[in-house]
Amino acid sequence: MTSISWRAVDLLCQMLEPDERAAVRGDLTESGETGGRSLAGVLGLVLRRQAALWKVWQPWAVLVGIAVPLGWSLGLVSWDLSHRSANHILSYARQWNNPIIREDFPGFAETTLISWLSVSCVSWISGFGLGFMSSRTVPINGALYGSALLLGYVANPHLLTGTHYWTPASGFTPYYGLFLTVLAVVVVLPSVLGIRQGLRLASHRPFIQTALRAATIGILVMFAIRAGLGIFWRVTGAFTHPPILDLLSSVVRIGMYWPMVYLVVSAVARCRRPRGAAEIAGL
């Protein structure tokens, strides 16, 4: 119990600034307090520090603009995508001996991979926005993003109305195995990687920070406008897309694949950068 509570203390201390972390951990060591009391003390300090960060508007903007809406939308979209992918993959596997099905498979694979890539990129951008624009409040905003994502699954209209087309013939275990794998690969992993990258760049030079902030906000605003216009035209029953919607869709598509470009460019830059002595020595 003691070692568990001390491990929890160390984990919580990670949420403090490096200097404060060292001072607090030193005070606790010196005072010889029990693990439980130390845990309560550090928890109180972390909560006070986190509460203080929410006195300005920026974390609230990230919460309202990124964490909740994008988490919830991604929950809805990825539930549908994972569900369809798992169902179709299992159907193809079951009927693989049928030549017509085999012939149809490349087209399905292409469409599915593009959908996975698109959702992965949006997940990465959401994670990046969280990490980059609210680096110090990322524990709370990240947890709320995860909760909104979960709510998107649980409060899914298909699930609530019972209209999802899960076929029992697929089998419970393979279906949910595939469903969760797609979800983890397409949403959870890119989101976590995006948060990590965002946190890494949060301490960059002001010029780069401003440029990246503008790019992230621009892409997210375009997503919102495109989604809003799409819903508006669907609700009003206008089936012909106005030209502005098509133009926005093209721009959003370019913005959506921004992480791919960014990752390739940063990988090339890393390869070209002269390596330091410590790096060469493998340190």
Binding site: A23, V24, D27, L45, V46
Partner: protein, 101 residues
């Protein structure tokens, strides 16, 4: 906190101030209350803090050293005078421990 830091003088740092407060008041002082109050006092210019050298008793971790500034000492004195003034004549003022009992 200003009183504890002043009393400790050169030995004033986070853990020692906390101990001093607990000894004087007889109640617990949480680490959260200590460090957030220190930050507020530092923001007001009443104390100055910096990181000291690491010591073996603290597992090789440094202390957050605290010094009361002259404006901090003045603020503490003003506060003490105000409390003394406004409590003059009230029953608990007349029966302070060690006085007139």
């Amino acid at each position: 906190m200003l009183t504890a830091a002043t009393r400790l003088g050169d030995d004033a740092y986070g853990g020692a101030i906390r101990q001093e407060i607990e000894d004087a008041t007889g109640s617990r002082c949480s680490i959260g209350a200590l460090y957030t109050t220190l930050d507020r006092l530092e923001a007001k210019g009443f104390v100055k803090t910096w990181m000291g050298d690491p010591t073996p008793q603290r597992g090789g971790r440094p202390k957050r050293i605290v010094r009361v500034t002259s404006s901090g000492a003045r603020a503490a004195k003003d506060f003490y005078n105000a409390v003394t003034r406004v409590t003059r004549g009230v029953p608990w003022e007349a029966h302070r421990v060690g006085e007139r009992i």
